[in-house]
Symmetry: none
């Protein structure tokens, strides 16, 4: 087998170093570069083509979804394997839609990494088993069609984090009454009875992420 060239794209330096160490133990792969965000990755790729990108999702400047889409357009011969700590199916769906050929969690090990790299290099797909079963057994039920505004989601996130109305108002430079009003509308839209119920409902219906 040829040497498989790899670029790591991840904003956490400790994780990059660990990944490099693990990959060094696999004889037929070679890490040719690292990037700490999507933009840097695309710059690096202008100079050096790689067979496979190991791509994080959340990164500053340009995230993994955007970067994957751009790679699919500009470097059709380079495959992307997503490597993330996010276990939510929505991340999986987004990355697959963007054109990733593999999806692993950061708690992966050398064996799984190796298998994913080989499989994807040969033109196949490799997904962490957590994501192969879920869509079959538990098809995402059609949730209620409630659309929260940006502001409402923002306030809901603060509520989840445990901030009081007064604290949220201070953070957003708004009146306490305004937060109060937004909350009332959140209750109206969701039918929730109070704040704890709102958090539960919103999570159940994917109105916000866990």
């Amino acid at each position: 087998m040829n040497i498989i060239s790899i670029i790591i794209a991840d904003d956490h330096i400790i994780f990059r170093k660990g990944l490099r160490t693990v990959l060094n133990e696999i004889p037929f792969v070679k890490v040719i570069a690292e990037a700490s965000d999507g933009k840097e990755l695309l710059n690096v790729m202008k100079k050096e083509a790689a067979d496979i990108i190991l791509m994080d999702i959340r990164m500053p400047k340009m995230d993994g979804v955007e970067a994957t889409k751009k790679i699919r357009l500009k470097f059709p011969d380079t495959f992307v394997i997503c490597l993330t700590m996010h276990e939510e199916i929505s991340y999986f769906n987004q990355m697959i839609a963007a054109g990733a050929n593999g999806f692993l969690l950061k708690k992966t090990n050398k064996e799984q990494l190796e298998k994913a790299i080989v499989t994807v290099y040969k033109g196949g797909n490799y997904y962490d088993e957590e994501f192969v079963i879920k869509p079959k057994n538990t098809p995402l039920p059609k949730k209620v069609h409630i659309k929260l505004s940006d502001r409402e989601i923002e306030i809901l996130e603060y509520i989840c984090k445990g901030f009081s109305n007064a604290e949220i108002a201070e953070k957003l430079f708004l009146s306490q009454r305004t937060i109060d009003g937004h909350k009332t509308r959140l209750f109206e839209k969701t039918g929730a009875k109070n704040a704890p119920n709102l958090v539960m409902f919103a999570l159940k219906n994917n109105l916000i992420k866990l």
Copy 2:
């Protein structure tokens, strides 16, 4: 300065390797062991004492909070620095309450790590700046147990469903004050600030089902 001995406790092998690589670049520290969960860590410590434990929170078998408490009891000379990807204040509160002397996020770098290690080794505390302001508003809980009792889970589920304390009391044929007390204990255990935050935290940690 003496050589500072360190044990890494984290269930992600890639992260452990990365951390080891970064620590190897600091001349006055030495990684003497690794553990992939709290139980393994305590076993390792029976044989080898360390100056500092770099401790993850979420680990199988025994999590970082439990392990930190046990270390505080059995190895009073060993300091704990928490190293986690969770940015929620409740995690911070729990780890500090358990006796950790440092709190860093996994997106940290060599410089910050070095500073934290030196500070804690000398008997001080080092927290990621994100968490230095917040604790002023949130007094630290006295007791923390990540394991909720049956009654607590039952009450938490009612809270999620939107019932008030009075309603829960009526349903369970208990005094309103009793529900109040259970709630207080839920806050203490989780480090949550209020009911919405409690719901979020419980769901994130699989203390209850969505």
